[in-house]
């Protein structure tokens, strides 16, 4: 059971996502064990605040019996294609225009990903 500040009154989608992460980890491991590290990947266009997620995940992991793992976030770059000059480029957020012509008219190729990549178990848990 979550403390009240993480239940009713505290609603952001990072909290739901933190619960989804522990569900995925629990089902992959088949048990609840204390973890050293959790490695995840977040795309810059996923709409996820890395710091909010870290805050929520730290609490949810502890409460659900996964100890106090470090959350290691691999922030990727988005891949975009400029609709004015056709070049493909990388961006760290929605606001970065084409490095060639400066246009912000583009199509998104990737950047919304959000995956749990791996976990590292605490000594003595393997």
């Amino acid at each position: 059971m979550l403390p009240p500040e993480l239940n009713g009154g505290f609603s952001m989608h990072e909290l739901s996502l933190a619960h989804d992460m522990t569900r995925i980890i629990g089902s992959a491991l088949g048990r609840k064990v204390h973890l050293d590290r959790v490695n995840i990947t977040i795309g810059p266009l996923s709409g996820i605040s890395a710091e909010s997620l870290r805050f929520c995940f730290t609490e949810v992991a502890r409460i659900e019996g996964f100890g106090e793992p470090d959350l290691v976030i691999n922030l990727t770059k988005a891949k975009l294609i400029c609709l004015d000059c056709d070049i493909e480029y990388e961006a760290k957020d929605f606001y970065q225009g084409c490095p060639d012509c400066g246009s912000i008219s583009r199509r998104i190729l990737s950047g919304r990903e959000f995956t749990v990549d791996s976990v590292e178990l605490e000594e003595g848990n393997d």
Binding site: G8, H13, G47, F94, R107
Partner: protein, 224 residues
Amino acid sequence: MCDEVTEQKVDITTSVMSKNDRFAEDNRELLSGKGIYTLNLISSPGAGKTTVLESMARFFGPRMAVIEGDIQTRRDAERIEKAGCQAWQIETGGACHLDAHAVNHALGHMNLDPDALELLAIENVGNLICPSGYDLGEDMRIGLLSVPEGDDKILKYPSLFSSINVLVINKMDLIPHLDFDVDRAIEECRSLNPDVLVFTVSAKTGEGMEEFCDFVESSFSTTA
């Protein structure tokens, strides 16, 4: 899911949205199997989602059903029922968005008679951030922005406005009183989202609603 176990490190490589996305595919399959076209309507609180849907309910009548997502109360579902459509209320009890599982559950309670129903509109929880990452199984995602919110909101909430198929600018009757630059809003939305279609309406006066409803109707007539 657990591919490789070394001494300490366990590979997982699973998309966090995979469970939601599976339910979204189930919803899409169920609804398209019955020939029902589905809309996901997203906006901030007070932009006029329910008023737009009331206006659509008068246009489509019993051919449309509505799922209402709110933190609390059945108020919106009651408004839709009064306007002439079947409505199911999801009370999220604090959650800031609908997910595909909640919609799947709601579908189980609704009368989805394929002979009567052609259109399902899902009104998401009023929020420009959290709903954007959750596919509900919709055919068309609509972002609703109202004139009093300001023309600068599109670039402030890019994860939503880059993911919509249609932008509806509502409360156009207030344009004479406010500094909302419609061209700027449309141009900024197109920069994020080159394929977006735009409608300007006032659900209160009815301005533009018939064109919008005709467009929705043509979308499901061509896919049916």
